[in-house]
Symmetry: C3
Subunit: 138 residues, 3 copies
């Protein structure tokens, strides 16, 4: 049993979902660990990680629109240092969570047929986002 | 230190919560691992896993009604290939998350007195749902 | 590779967020494990764990007010055995999740510059809350 740690960086184009399933699987491949437990954590409070359907672009658009309805911009926040999208971004990150743990089998994260791992950018502007990856197994 | 992987299937009766605490504990028993880390992941994007009170049926009914209010059906979704409950189901799965990690002690998942592990079915129709289980420990 | 398990208790002052990053880091220090995987679980169904910005008190106030809007008190719940804040507390715990997994490096949980680990109390009254901690590594 051994473990491997890494940090991957992604450039986001502003509010939206970036699928990172392939990058995560590629990193697992470099560790030589075939069976184990993968943990990802997004090192930011206005971006997060989530799993959703990766086949339909409409799902991703509906998901973003829904997040806007659940955590809308508005003048009612005390925290708006970085603009009107600042506090809604923190709320969306809490709702979707920065962390993700997945079993790994055959050198791949265990996902259903339609599941993909997404980095969710909740700020309007493009950002550079860091994700820590940890894999424990053999 | 060693690890064990399994896949359990559950039949759901449509929208609702199915407690799976006993099935999960039973599986842990078969591994012979007494102390460790348990990770569960639901291999679907319209069902999920959550922990909530397992004593009161009213809690589960209120929780389902709340999910319907937060992610209502309606004509405003772009993605409705499989009917009006399709996109709300994806949203509820993102809100509640497909993944769950719990320490294991004495051969049992560490849960509070009133906590139970539930498989949440977010589609109207009955489904067969697969959950991957991973246990690492000794 | 070895593992360590503990239980920490915190007194909350009623609805609010208590940062526990330091207590968690201190416990990691006592285990002598420098690199590994940390898992926390809150053993209650009306309190939870979350990661958010720890620099601004306004973020925490906005977050609490938002949780009140998403899961408001009201006469529409079937479950109100312990008062009007009972069911909303269960809903907020499901929305924010009781569990958290983080890689550990250099004897510290891997967090971004502005990230803190918070115990979220969702009941109005002060409570004593137990958190189980599990660390696997070397």
């Amino acid at each position: 049993m051994r473990q491997s740690l890494a940090r991957l960086e992604f450039h986001t184009a502003g509010r939206g979902l970036t699928e990172i399933t392939r990058e995560v699987a590629d990193w697992i491949g470099t560790t030589g660990i075939a069976t184990g437990l993968l943990t990802l954590t997004c090192l930011h409070t206005s971006a997060s990680l989530l799993i959703t359907e990766n086949a339909s672009g409409a799902v991703r658009r509906d998901l973003l629109a829904w997040l806007d309805r659940v955590a809308p911009e508005g003048g009612h926040y005390a925290h708006d240092d970085e603009g009107p999208d600042d506090m809604p971004a923190h709320l969306k990150a809490v709702l979707t969570n920065p962390n993700l743990s997945l079993p790994v089998a055959g050198g791949r994260p265990m996902l259903g047929t339609w599941q993909g791992i997404f980095l969710a950018e909740h700020r309007r502007a493009p950002h550079r986002r860091a994700i820590a990856l940890h894999l424990l197994g053999e």
